[in-house]
């Protein structure tokens, strides 16, 4: 039985000018203990996707279709109170920018106390602080620092605090939305190591959202590639990296600089992501795809399984 099951999720942003479909019929399911890497360019809808599992899509965005089921609970249709209880306790969320995700006028301890006591009101403030200290220590931060304010921490430490807050109540599912994007490379490596280690010891189910394919390669069991709100490819990490099937995935992998290959010209993907207010017909990627042919311009490819990987591409159907 899967822990998280998402069926054909549709999330739209309704503005005065247009309706933009940020997530278009994406389906996914997560088994317990698995790690999924969700990659794509900025604006492809992966953050929106992540937020919708907690029903936190910011207005004017709304979930307009599909189902999200967490271990039996219907997330889309459950009451406000029910989703509030799920947030933090059953699903933990790590945000991209730790500097702005913590309340600048509250101490770290206060963050912990507030959260723990909201979900478990019987816990006293002292015990909540104790648990907070334990969490900090587990993450490699001196427990005394629980009395500090967010701005007194460095970027990497702040992100650890965020991870700590996300895991403090022992959730089954952890969603990390670009957890290392605002950090430098060395700290990024440390955080990824930390996530891997926590994943092992806590038996976490993890969704790692990022535009950095590199970190996905070493942490994820499966990888999902999103483009313009739709799933382009979804498969086992090793398969995807060895034999990417969707042209977009291929282009993404090609664009990662490789210092071992001498004299290699940096490659990039020409063009720009489509304006989702007026999306092109057919396959959304066709304007930039080197292999595009007639069918791509008219008909939208559906996600079909090829050798254990799901791909949405007419090219693969042909083969």
């Amino acid at each position: 039985m899967s822990l998280l099951d998402i069926q054909s999720l549709i999330v739209e942003y309704h503005t005065l000018k247009a309706n933009v479909r940020a997530v278009d019929r994406v389906s996914l399911s997560m088994e317990k203990g698995h790690t999924l890497g969700l990659v794509g360019e900025s604006g492809c809808g992966k953050s929106t996707f992540g937020l919708s599992t907690l029903r936190l899509v910011p207005p004017p965005g709304r979930i307009v279709g599909g189902h999200i089921t967490l271990d039996g609970t219907d997330i889309v249709n459950c009451s406000d109170e029910e989703i509030r209880k799920i947030r933090g306790k059953r699903i933990g969320y790590i945000f991209q920018d730790p500097m702005t995700s913590l309340n600048p006028v509250k101490r770290i301890g206060a963050h912990f106390v507030e959260m723990i006591r909201t979900h478990e009101p019987e816990v006293s403030e002292r015990d909540a602080l104790k648990r907070g200290r334990e969490v900090l220590e587990r993450l490699g931060i001196l427990p005394e620092r629980i009395d500090d304010f967010p701005h007194q921490f460095s970027g990497g430490m702040r992100q650890r605090v965020m991870i700590g807050l996300a895991l403090a109540l022992g959730p089954d599912l952890l969603i990390a939305d670009e957890p290392t994007t605002s950090l430098d490379v060395i700290v990024e490596a440390q955080i990824i190591e930390l996530l891997k280690e926590l994943k092992e010891s806590l038996k976490l189910t993890l969704i790692l959202i990022t535009h950095n394919i590199g970190i996905v390669a070493e942490t994820a069991d499966r990888v999902a590639v999103m483009y313009a709100g739709r799933l382009a490819e979804l498969g086992q990490t090793d398969d995807l990296f060895e034999k990417p099937m969707h042209p977009y995935t291929q282009a993404l992998l090609d664009s990662v600089p490789n210092i071992t290959k001498k004299g290699q010209v940096l490659s990039w993907i020409p063009g720009a992501p489509p304006d989702l207010a007026e999306p092109p017909p057919g396959c959304l990627y066709h304007p930039r795809c080197p292999h595009a042919f007639d069918r791509c311009k008219k008909e939208e490819p559906s996600l079909t399984k090829h050798n254990g990987t799901y791909v949405a591409c007419h090219l693969c159907d042909k083969r």
Partner: protein
Amino acid sequence: MSLRSYIIARILLTIPMIMLLLTFVFLIIRVLPGDPASLHFEKNASPATLLAFKRELGLDKPLLIQYFDYLAGLVRGDFGKSMQDFSPVSQQIFSAFPATLELAIASTIIMVVLGILLGATAARSYNTAEDHSIRIFGTVSYAIPVFFLGEVLIMIFGIYLRWLPAGGRMYPGISPAGLLIGGQRYATGLYVLDSLLEGDMYKLYLSIRYLILPSLALGLVLCGIFIRLTRSNMLETLQLDFVTAARARGLKERTVVYGYALRNAFLPILTMMGLQFAALLAGAILTETTFSWPGLGRYLVDRISFRDYTAIQGVVVFFGLLVTAVSFVVDILYAYLDPRIRL
């Protein structure tokens, strides 16, 4: 920068401002076309009367001497002498001021509370009819002259419905007496407070009854800007990452809205209160006249009709100094409360 050095810097900045302010008022009254003394009599006085009059008020001295006398007098708390009966203007000011202060406080409460409540409601129901109507209300209320609104309120509640008094500050003959300490009564001049201190509930009831309409008029007209401020502040804050992060941790919506979002709107509201104080005083002048409220504003308007220019000067100076003092206090308070300066 520590708080202390900030205060000192602020004082150093305020002193030249006060000097300019005082000089400005002096120039207006003494230097603008028309000598205040002759204007007072409208050319109906004999030269002898005029001279004696001027001498009594010190208006016959050279302008520069008058200027220094004026400044020196202010330091002593002397705001000049009334042209009508040569009584010290400062006496009138200090006896009329508490009424204005009470009106100002009551109006501020209404203005801020209404503003925050409506602003928060508008922010929470963003882009709905409720939001739009609140915003429209905020814009329209500012365009209403406060004395017009006052007149309307008097007509509806004072004359037509007869629920509330149509003017004045208190039922004739009754005066709240204040606190009794060792046989002596100490009154603040604020009727609501004095009634409370005296423990007389009937006086308290009366004081409030007379206070409602004028402070409602003034508060309504000025609350628009607080509605807008609260609304935009909350909308911004509610979008901020740490609010979304707080929600992601499963905190109750009420905690998020009031604990996180509103807390951040508080400081700008405080500053705005300080900025609006000047507008409050200006509005008080008109409100007091409309409701026959015996405050400093009405005193000023009285003096205008008597062409009592020295008294006008005294009151204007007082108002200017008052506003400067309040701005100063608000600035210091802001510096104290803003954690970025403190921490």
